[in-house]
């Protein structure tokens, strides 16, 4: 720790504000407090952080410290950060206005040379309730065996089955006895209810036991049902998981599972939530998820941000690598970064008022953290993010960049269906069906005939039954979301 400055210890850039210092400290304390932390040697880390905070949180001591600080070493970040705005500048208005910002992260191509693959520490948590009986569980079993056979010796894998309680079928650690592990999977039987918390809790303790920031630590939940009564516990577990840097992903099979709930849980941890329709490819979906984790560089991209008081971050939406709405609160969890590829996030800021004589006007500023394995050692890179615009007297009319327009056009379809769902839940069937019909028109124009047809079928269903069909609702939600996938948008533009 000797060569680390107090700023490094708190993971802050040297221009950190007092508010940022306090926030960083709070978060680290939550993770490292001797009462809660599990790993050896972290008590020491906690003391270091305590010391750093005491110095930096006192503006006078901080100023003294800054003077004796050696110049900042030049760090070559492997990350390229680009920002795009929907408008070249802002104009002061007497009413609230909105601006869109796209944040794009890329790994420098030559950085791949020195980045090593990250081993996995994952737990597969499998719902074995009665409804999984038959093809669903059979496919999951086959896939689990595939995974067992393909694991890298460095990977840590565990398998948890759950229904009304949870059972550790394959303990984490070396897979010395592959044959008996396969046998255990083969003998899995379905029966009982779905208590997701039981499964998640056991999966979590397996991953936490071997948790290491040199690995991708992740829980994959496979379920086809709804959990009752333990939602709050699941939510708490997700928060705990997220603080430790353990991601949770969910694969929902069929139409009975609770997509809203699992979207919520997974997005808290930067994980993803996928829908496998009846007759969908269960095996491929699970393997894709494993591949995704295997090819990711890190799961730990977060932005600690603060908006200027007159500005509100109203929406944050991850467009790539996995399209999903993000919870617009700080710290913003962006999720995982693929080794090859791009991460892009669209932000919608509502500006209530612009103070006089401020230019550039800072809408939000924050610190983006990314941990990248460099020659087997993970290095933390701290990047300062500022969203700002010049204020001009007259509006500068310029077409918004194509990246923003294209993203917005598809995002619009997703928001339209979200809106229809919301109206449905309020019992406003007329507005909901009208919005669904608008959505169908747009989908037809995009050449998404199948999805448009599903939407129209759903409109007919709603007119008849005054409610969504469970299958149709998910099909439309995840269908519009997947329109944002790069391969698809490539076709369209």
């Amino acid at each position: 720790m000797d060569d680390l400055t107090f700023y490094d210890r708190l993971g802050l850039p040297r221009d950190a504000t007092q508010e940022e210092i306090r926030r960083a400290y709070r978060q680290l304390v939550l993770r490292l407090h001797p009462d809660t932390n599990v790993n050896k040697g972290e008590t020491e880390l906690f003391i270091d952080i305590q010391q750093a905070f005491e110095r930096l949180s006192d503006p006078k001591k901080k100023a003294d410290y800054d003077l004796q600080l050696p110049p900042e070493p030049k760090v070559v970040s492997p990350l390229n950060i680009s920002t795009y705005y929907s408008q070249p500048s802002l104009v002061r208005l007497s009413e609230p206005q909105v601006i869109y910002t796209l944040l794009e992260l890329n790994i420098q191509p030559d950085a791949n040379l020195w980045m090593s693959p990250t081993p996995l520490n994952i737990s597969l948590v499998v719902d074995c309730s009665t409804s999984m009986q038959g093809i669903r569980l059979d496919m999951v079993k086959l896939t689990a065996i595939d995974i067992l056979r393909q694991l890298h010796p460095d990977d840590i894998f565990s398998l948890v089955k759950f229904n009304d309680w949870a059972e550790l079928l394959i303990a984490p650690g070396g897979l010395a006895d592959l044959k008996s592990a396969e046998m255990k999977v083969q003998l899995l039987q379905a029966g009982g209810g779905t208590e997701i918390f039981r499964g998640l809790e056991m999966g979590f303790s397996q991953v936490a036991q071997f948790h290491s920031n040199q690995r991708i630590n992740h829980i994959i939940l496979i379920t086809d049902g709804r959990t009752y009564g333990d939602e709050v516990s699941c939510e708490k577990l997700a928060d705990q998981s997220s603080a430790l840097g353990i991601g949770i992903s969910a694969l929902g099979i069929g139409s009975q599972w609770n997509d809203k709930f699992l979207d919520h849980i997974t997005s808290k941890t930067g994980g993803i939530c996928k829908f496998i329709p009846d007759g969908g490819d269960i095996r491929n979906s699970i393997l894709e998820e494993i591949t995704r984790l295997g090819s990711s560089l890190t799961e730990q991209i977060t932005i600690n941000y603060q908006t200027t008081p007159v500005v509100e971050l109203s929406t944050a939406y991850r467009l790539q690598p996995d399209p999903s709405p993000l919870d617009p609160v700080s710290p913003l969890i962006l999720g995982y970064m693929p080794r090859h590829g791009t991460m892009s996030v669209l932000f919608e800021f509502v500006i209530k008022d612009i103070p006089k004589n401020v230019t550039p006007f800072v809408m939000a500023k924050g610190i983006l953290d990314i941990e990248i394995p460099r020659h087997n050692i993970r290095t933390k890179y701290i990047n300062r993010i500022i969203f700002d615009r010049q204020i001009t007297a007259e509006p500068v009319s310029e077409a918004p960049p194509a990246v923003i327009l294209n993203a917005m056009m598809i995002l619009l379809l997703f928001t339209m269906q979200e809106r229809a769902r919301e109206e449905m839940s309020k019992g406003d069937f007329d507005s909901a069906t009208r919005h669904m019909e608008n959505l169908a028109t747009h989908l037809l124009q995009k050449g998404e005939d199948n999805l448009a047809q599903s939407v129209l079928n759903e409109v007919a269903y709603i007119r008849h039954n005054q409610s969504f069909s469970e299958e149709g609702e998910k099909l439309i939600k995840y269908g519009t979301r997947s329109l944002l996938l790069p391969a698809r948008s490539g076709e369209n533009y």
Binding site: A399, P400, I404, L405, L412, L413, T441, H442, Q445
Partner: protein
């Protein structure tokens, strides 16, 4: 405040799309509306004023309002809505006009994709130009954009250089 030309929904300044109906507010200039040289437009205007009163064909019985395309002699009944957007459809345009003049050579005539609207209102209908590239003229007068103008039976308006007569079935 931005008022959506398609559905009247209000969005904040800076919005790119209408969240209600999906209309795009900024037009990408990939397929710009064909600009008509002003001299030609003037010439057409003169020609129009010299024209004898065109023969008004009978309106279809089942429509209270219809549009008569002066050049081609086509009659388009306005049915089912209280407000109609006029324009031409183009590829990857998110919102289609209610009355698509594309098949009647709207592009060549300089009609914008969302050019104008006609709202049925007693005792007149109201014609509103959407700040179109080549403008809308009513009986030879250029309309200020986004302002509704009363229009009645027999009035001729031109979108770009496409001349249309409003027919009201009384």
């Amino acid at each position: 405040m931005i008022v959506c030309p398609n559905c009247g929904n209000q969005e904040m300044p800076g919005a790119l799309f209408c969240k209600e109906c999906g209309t795009q507010f900024t037009i990408i200039s990939r397929d710009p509306t064909m600009a008509i040289p002003s001299s030609l437009a003037d010439h057409l205007h003169e020609a129009q004023s010299e024209d004898a009163e065109p023969v008004v064909p009978p309106t279809p019985d089942d429509a209270s309002l219809s549009l008569f395309l002066v050049e081609t002699g086509e009659v388009i009944p306005l049915e089912g809505l209280t407000e109609y957007t006029l324009g031409r459809s183009a590829e990857d345009q998110p919102i289609l006009p209610d009355i698509d003049l594309g098949p009647y050579h709207a592009y060549e005539y300089g009609v914008s994709r969302l050019h104008a609207s006609i709202k049925i209102s007693q005792p007149y209908a109201l014609l509103t130009d959407f700040d179109s590239a080549n403008g809308t003229q009513l009986n030879g007068q250029k309309l200020s954009p986004h302002k509704p103008y009363p229009i009645t039976h027999g009035d001729i308006f031109s979108m770009g250089k496409m001349k249309i007569q409003l027919l009201v079935n009384r």
